[in-house]
Amino acid sequence: MNVLTAKYVSSEDTLTVILNGEIDHHSAQSIREEIDRQIYAHRAKTVYLDLKNVGFMDSSGLGLILGRYTHTKEAGGVLKILNPGASAQRVMKLAGTDKIIPIEWD
């Protein structure tokens, strides 16, 4: 049930990480290194974490977002969140990450 996968779409300046599944402590730990490898390989100006296919996210999702925010910054880019669902939005709002990490919809 808590399988989390990622698809990567890159263009000249952007890397979009499309997450699919549920983000909890179990699923987050299996995917964070894979995402980091892509962030450092592409060194895109903007990295989008697309959450449109994420049906559930707890505070481990916050950890996943904040960790990728740090790594993207280190790689010279900016992290943005795309299409968060209601559950992700509530958790991000509670932690205040919506104030430091821009949210966009497409």
Binding site: D24, H26, D58, S59, S60, L62, L64, L94
Partner: protein, 146 residues
């Protein structure tokens, strides 16, 4: 006056992270008999996921050893009591552990928001802990009237 128990269930499972999703879906499936709103169900899932993750990651230090015990009670007036218990290492300073953004995980990959989420997504949260004996988290959620 103490509310009567209408229904209850309890189960336990090994403290393996793969069981986090099982735990939150088992609890939300049991609560579904009260016909909660989608948002209430989502609150329950999230709060249970946080409590179970804390038990696995902090109570048992992510070793996969030990068991997590869950009890869910449905009381009168659409009141849910969810108890998540571990017999792990316990919390030395509960006030510090419950401080928003505090994390006992040095990797920085956990948000330090577990207790804040449990507190905010339920109506009442109580944490009892004893170092070397374990932690019991009791959450109360009052569902809206039908």
């Amino acid at each position: 006056m103490k509310k009567k128990i209408v229904n209850e269930t309890e189960f336990s499972f090994p403290a393996k992270s793969v069981n986090e999703s099982f735990a939150r879906y088992a609890v939300s499936s049991f609560c579904a008999q009260l016909d909660p709103t989608i948002e209430e169900l989502s609150d329950i899932r999230t709060a249970v996921s946080e409590a179970v993750t804390n038990a696995i990651v902090h109570g048992y230090r992510d070793t996969g050893e030990g068991r997590v015990y869950i009890k869910v009670r449905i009381l009168e007036e659409r009141t849910l009591v969810i108890i998540v218990k571990d017999t792990g290492c316990g919390i030395a300073d509960i006030t510090l552990a419950m401080t928003p953004l505090y994390t006992g995980d040095p990797s920085g990959e956990r948000g330090g928001m577990g207790f804040s989420i449990m507190e905010s997504f339920t109506d009442d949260l109580k944490v009892r802990s004893s170092v070397g004996h374990g932690t019991t988290v009791t959450m109360i959620k009052r569902l809206s009237k039908l």
